[in-house]
Subunit: 143 residues, 2 copies
């Protein structure tokens, strides 16, 4: 595993890991996203834990987890939004508890990196339901 | 829940929470320890996630978890030791994967606070086997 904590001249608290491959382009948009998995997506543990680093402008797609998810922001500024609700601005030290099945997205601000730990508890088969991208029109309205 | 991130003049990344009550004195020694639970010890989720802040000199007892544990250090300096192995010095940004059933302890250095996220995956009944305190004799040998 790549334990590098440096990316684009920034020192992050936890390992940045690898750039998300092109095959995951359905799950992310707007820029590069890096993943480091402390606990991989294995059915045995049923509880993935990873560090995700979003470059400015990048965000994941609208998605939902069958299990409870907790996000813990360790660097920068970004956004979290649940379907039908206003976007919530996130900063280092903030955390979000995402209830099972809630459709949501998260990612960096347009002018900032955001690093966050994320894990999903008791996620049957670790399956994530991925929906549409957060459109440039929606995203560009955020400060 | 107490969302305070300040303790003894230090600003921590995540909430410090509440001082561990005296009834937990079997599990800790050497000073005050604070806990904030993002996911509480509930059998339904089977996957507790918490932030633990160790004041200088404090550490937990030798213990073991039936499930895999991951520790993520967010502040300060401290120690992690598995039974029969040398102590490993920990700093902010370090992480430890504790295999199921491995007897171990962790805590602050004698002259530093240490804050760490910790969670246990797939821990049947969330039970932790707690053994003896880390003795002052053992602990005092550490720098």
């Amino acid at each position: 595993m790549n334990e590098n904590r440096e990316l684009d001249g920034i020192h992050f608290l936890f390992p940045v890991g690898e750039k998300t491959p092109a095959k995951s382009q359905k799950s992310f948009t707007g820029g590069d996203v890096y993943h480091f998995m402390f606990i991989p997506h294995e059915s045995k543990l049923n509880c993935p834990l990873g560090n995700v680093t979003y470059t400015p402008g990048s965000r994941n797609s609208w998605h939902a987890h069958p299990g409870l998810q907790v996000l813990l922001v360790t660097y920068g500024r970004g956004w979290y939004q649940e379907e039908g609700k206003e976007p919530r601005e996130l900063h280092a030290g903030d955390y979000v508890v995402v209830e099972p099945g809630v459709k949501h997205w998260h990612g960096a601000a347009k002018d900032s990196y955001m690093a966050q730990l994320g894990f999903v508890a008791n996620c049957p088969e670790n399956s994530t339901l991925t929906f549409e991208h957060v459109s440039d029109e929606e995203y560009s309205k955020l400060p």
